[in-house]
Point group: C2
Chain length 225, copies 2
DNA sequence: TATGCGAGTCTTGTATACAAGATGTGCACA
DNA sequence: TGTGCACATCTTGTATACAAGACTCGCATA
């Protein structure tokens, strides 16, 4: 996604609206800004030390990403995520992740697969560490999946899947707390990599489906508490 | 999508940014604003009789929809659509349309199916008319598919598919010119409705896949000219 | 006590002013 | 003639001013 690209090149000029956008997004995804919380332009502008203009433009982008909801003349608030919406997102994601695996199987080179395996192992190493930072774990997991997406060569698919995954970051911290789940994730990643290495696409598809289904159960369990 | 909802309720207050957004979007989709054309804020503001503020916010939304591309400090221009991107979009759409058909088969009631059949027939009637308006044809076709999407009950899926279809409106006028293609569309719609009525989901999936594949070929042929 | 009205305040919507980077042009100089 | 630099202009980025709708809260009245 373009915003991530921007974040990867800190030497480049970045408009304030991008900075504000990234800041607010991070705060929403981390739960520092809670669902339902009002986003008042003047308050945000004062807090971030900018004027209302970049705040407003950042909010437009957040709205588009589904992270905030706007009501005309009444302002913006952080979007609530209902269980139904989570279910909807995961259903779409499952379908597209299957497409991604098929395309990745088609296009990823041996070198790509080596990098993917490395990404899976990097995540596994973090899982073995007792006091690993949850947000680092999340990023490592994200990196693994992002490599598969990149392997598809379909930019639109990459963009949509990135966006859908983003919706779930808000739950990530919750379900990553469970250590059993972490170990399961490692094993599933491994199974995916192995299937791709064997070019056994149907097995890879089964594994990614299982991976998403498990994620669904895990998040639902976390929500039940 | 929320913008369409806004358009459906003209009695409601609509911020200028929405008006500008809808205006520019229509002009881009209709080809009145051509790919690569620069969108200069002051010029647009003068032309539409508003200030730069709503223009800027509308451009942010268009950027998000992929209809315009922004380069920091250099402004926005109408996005080019390459054949590769078209291919990418259709690939994602095919995957999600299959999901939509499966969900629609699961959730659409007999009444929903009757409405769907009516929508298919409305399109068919327009096709028989010799001098039918292309944009009306396009809207009827859109309506047919939208009904399937609505039948899924998955709001996220509806939103994403709506967005993807939008990307193709820019080609719609081209490929709908071909009268043979119109007849093919009618037959395919019919086959989809019948399969759903018989609750033969695998047949419905085959038909929607064929439908998208044919659309892909048709647009590619139109582009070749 | 409950309800309705209204002034004051808060917040968003829109316009405009100002700052600074990007571009284009013409002239000087090699 | 070609290259490069400086200045003028254009355009976007950001801040601020002003307009108008939405909300709050208290008071008056039934």
């Amino acid at each position: 996604m373009k915003d991530n690209e921007a974040a990867e090149k800190p030497e480049e000029y970045m408009p304030l609206r991008e900075v504000v956008f990234l800041t607010l997004r991070r705060q929403i995804l981390r739960g520092e800004l809670k669902p339902g919380e009002r986003l008042m332009e003047i308050a945000l502008a004062n807090r971030l030390g900018v004027s209302r203009t970049p705040i407003r433009e950042a909010i437009r982008k957040l709205e588009h990403d589904g992270l905030v909801v706007m009501i005309p003349r009444r302002g913006a608030h952080v979007a609530e995520i209902t269980r139904q919406e989570l279910c909807d997102v995961l259903e779409v994601r499952k379908s597209l992740d299957v497409l991604a695996i098929r395309k990745a199987n088609e296009f990823m080179t041996g070198k790509d697969l080596k990098n993917l395996r490395a990404a899976g192992e990097a995540f596994a190493v973090l899982v073995t560490q007792k006091n690993a930072d949850l947000s680092m774990l999340g990023e490592a997991d994200e990196h693994f999946h992002e490599m598969i997406y990149q392997g598809t060569g379909n930019r639109r698919l990459i963009q949509i899947l990135g966006n859908l995954r983003e919706q779930m970051y808000r739950f990530r911290v919750e379900y990553l707390k469970d250590k059993d789940i972490r170990q399961t994730l490692v094993e599933e990643h491994d199974a995916i990599v192995e299937a791709l290495e064997k070019r056994d696409v149907e097995e890879a598809v089964r594994m990614i489906e299982l991976h998403i289904d498990n994620q669904y159960s895990a998040i639902n369990r976390a929500l039940d508490q």
